[in-house]
Symmetry: C2
Subunit: 355 residues, 2 copies
Amino acid sequence: MQDNSVRIKDVARVAGVSTSTVSRTLTRPDKVSRHTRDIVQAAVQETGYRFNHAASNFRKQRTGTIAAFIPNIANPYYPDILSGLAAGFADTPYTLVTVDTAAGQEAERLARPYFDKRRADALVVTAGSLAPALLTAWRADGQAPPVVEIGEGPDPAQNPRVSIRNAEAAAQAVAHLVALGHRRIGFVNGPQSYTSAARLAGVMGGEDARARVTWTTSGPLGFAFGQSAAREWMGLRDRPTGVFCATDVLACGFIGEVMRNGLRVPQDVSVIGFDDVEGMAYLHPALTTIRQPRFAMGQRAAQMVCELLDTPRQELGGQELGETVMAVTLVVRDSTGAPPASSQDDRGVPRARQG
Amino acid sequence: MQDNSVRIKDVARVAGVSTSTVSRTLTRPDKVSRHTRDIVQAAVQETGYRFNHAASNFRKQRTGTIAAFIPNIANPYYPDILSGLAAGFADTPYTLVTVDTAAGQEAERLARPYFDKRRADALVVTAGSLAPALLTAWRADGQAPPVVEIGEGPDPAQNPRVSIRNAEAAAQAVAHLVALGHRRIGFVNGPQSYTSAARLAGVMGGEDARARVTWTTSGPLGFAFGQSAAREWMGLRDRPTGVFCATDVLACGFIGEVMRNGLRVPQDVSVIGFDDVEGMAYLHPALTTIRQPRFAMGQRAAQMVCELLDTPRQELGGQELGETVMAVTLVVRDSTGAPPASSQDDRGVPRARQG
DNA sequence: ATCAGCACTGCAACCGATTGCATGACCCGT
DNA sequence: ACGGGTCATGCAATCGGTTGCAGTGCTGAT
């Protein structure tokens, strides 16, 4: 009843039809008459046949694999993206393979092999996982499978992409601080990248926002740099009263260090993060942040991949899918508030000395 | 020079040998004469041939895939495990596929398909990702690939396993609190599982430790339950002065809520976590915890998988590999300290009313 | 009655590497 | 010089579905 060596030909024998018919019954039931279909299905039951994806994929010259590159799996930004991708591929025949490129450090060794149609049917590359130049070069190889990008990247997009408006979102974060009355604002940015450039542009965007941003710094994503940014901030003469961190993780490291030094958040300094990563709502203070719909972004990317793959080579495939831009949300929690009283009087351009 | 349609037979033609020879040159160079090998390798260069793993795997009736099941990818416990696994498989022909089983909720749909040699060459199942009963049942299927377990599980181990001594480690955490002078100790445990049972056993292990544990609770892993545990704790009459949380995430949620209510850590309550998850060292206060060597555990598991797969069916394979037990480390940071003065006098069995 | 058109099914080649078995060359001991 | 052994290599079947093409039978229109 359920031997491990049941093949399509065994089913065919039992059903008294050819393997072609069994194959068709399994993959395109509409091409087979109702009668035959029933017979074959009964035979499948009787034999305990289980479909062999590997063989099918091989014959079809596909892999059934989608590779997703992420810069650092330890960064809590990615789990939701991956869940979204997984959800998006859940009812498809595709298997998701996640590759941590160590922020691109190991890209040559780990990612390069996937730029080959025989290794993956499509690729999902998240911002920061691969130098854009490498992506372009490898993508041009001819052997490369289609790619879908997630996050900020070169404009216009070379591939279908799902993203957010980083500049606008960053501006929104700054606006939140300004609305609370902050007149000296700091910005802790991530390392040089399209993403950080966009966010910086957003922060510096408005005439009057720019005047209020008195301090910016940038460094590697991760708690450690949040911590050093806090140290830097503490050493400042006219400390910004509101600090926007380009990432919740940075914000978390920043807040921890600031509090360790006896300062209070938001009484002494307001901090707003970005991403709305898991857990930050449970800290004290709960982190105010800009939420990215990461799950939905992953899911949408998966959907794009499927469209790309289902669409026969009729058109350029990629170009038509274009870019899906998702909305972010300001999530106000407890890490932002009015600036300390001593700086309440400040207006416009910050003064050189604190009152 | 580099067409996408270069196959082994093209290389053979260019080299003037048979495909068998090319294949052997590629996979078992020692079976080919030095002379021929050079010729073939030159032909490989010239043609730009790239090996087709899918075809190779298919012919060899393997998949080249190792599936790893984890309960929840959003839990910061797993990234390091996955990195370790990835590192362990880095120089092997295996591809790691990560499957989030939603704590086993979706196991039937997501994990079951992999219990089939045609889907994966081996499985890595982490504690909590799959009900042990399902694992046993599916494993017995005959079609199932070998599995390696990570974490606590049924004793004796049915499969090769890498683990830590959860009971001892938990006892160590309690001992740390006791050594600091705590006489009323609380334990916030995870949901019912082999892991939580072992930790509870450890907590309750010693005669005198048991007397000191005045409160235990258990619930789902995650920040939210850490928070509710804190609320529960705050409502207690004779609050434990030291609390051991079975997970850093629980500890984090616990501390956040406690501080939000104006209490200080460790001045008012000491909290020790478990795992040493990323980021917890940057919080305020930095979390004292028991470190699990997660990366090494993943790496060791990968190594076991390879041994299992390399070893021909000569012996039972699994049984001989047994269990690798790794050492944990107490990492003392700032979330634990002496109990508050008001409870310093407490000795031995806690009193019913606070002095 | 005839035939185009359609629906269904079978035949057999095919995806690309692997490998058991056969072959031929050559070596060695007796 | 011959039988047995070793080494290197080639032949061809094989892994398990898939699919282009051809064949069969039936319907409906003329």
